[in-house]
């Protein structure tokens, strides 16, 4: 028999889901990102055509989501590297909260500068 959500309902598991989902979504996003940057082959005008599209509020919203994905994957990943490469610490949940806090701060800083 398999476990259901009740066995998985604890902070480290939520962090795993965030890490896996953000990693997967970022991988899907990368080709798009690279394509957009490739518009620079058409000079400033090429980039401007693309940037105009990003003025759309929906796109800005998605952009902010991407920043959240990136900062969450980075901060959560740093936490995993600490677990795997440094000595064990008993304040795992503090570390988790710190990782969540860092990604939130990054997104807020981005939003403050974006609007």
């Amino acid at each position: 028999m398999k476990n259901d959500f009740r066995a998985r309902n604890h902070p480290a598991y939520w962090a795993f889901i965030v890490h896996r989902a953000s990693g997967l979504l970022l991988t899907f996003f990368l080709p798009l990102h690279f394509w957009a940057l490739g518009q620079a082959f058409h000079g400033a005008a090429g980039l401007d055509r693309f940037l105009e599209w990003t003025q759309n509020p929906l796109v800005k919203f998605a952009e902010t989501g991407l920043v959240l994905l990136l900062s969450a994957h980075m901060a959560g990943g740093a936490r995993l590297l600490m677990i795997e490469f440094l000595d064990w610490r008993d304040w795992q949940k503090t570390l988790l909260a710190a990782a969540a806090g860092v990604s939130l701060v990054v997104v807020l800083a981005f939003l403050l500068n974006l609007v």
């Binding site: 028999m1 398999k2 476990n3 066995a7 604890h10 480290a12 795993f16 677990i83 490469f85 795992q92």
Partner: protein, 237 residues
Amino acid sequence: MENLQVRIWRGQENGGFQEFEVPRQESQTVLDVVTYVQRKCDPTLSYRFACRVGVCGSCAMTVNGVSRWTCRTHVDKVAEDNKVEIAPLRNLPVIKDLVTDMSEFFDKWAKARGRFAGATTRKDGFAPVSPESKERKRVDAGIECIGCGVCYSACDVVTWNKDYLGPAALNRAWTLVNDVRDTERAERLAAVAGDAGCHACHTHLNCTERCPKGLSPTAGIAGLKRAVLAATLAGEI
């Protein structure tokens, strides 16, 4: 006190839950509930227990979806709306009702080379190991495991990868890797390397969260990951 509504798993993998009513008592454990059902309601109910006080590790089951020792779990702590659901451990074949076949769990201890290999005989003197040494402290952190299978049942990587050795076997290997008297370090590191071994661990901390002894197999597995990588880079594996 109102009677407790208990749902207990009956049969094998394709079985189902059967409902019982059990009188509540003060300081009642989940194992008390199972025992009551077996003695008063249905003597065909199968379950495992021995010591009843958290020493033997044979009464582990899934209580309200979470792997636990039933003898050390008070009904007060887990009952929701006066209801408790009791099922066999996860990730292991169900023999009948609440009894699982733990063969693969213990076979994996052997696969992880969980047996001490020394170079001395009973004729030799004691090996001096300082309680303050780094290795001894690492052994201390993991040595209290009694092999109840709660971590194995709680681990998602075991579910996703049938060959994965699991938290308990890897924790055992880690205590031996840090045993300065042991002579099979390289073989043991090779045995726990790769996708069926320590590197499959995703640091969910399910095992650390659920271990009734408060151990952290995750910490030992992380240590193995580093030790195996170092041995691999040094060409020893």
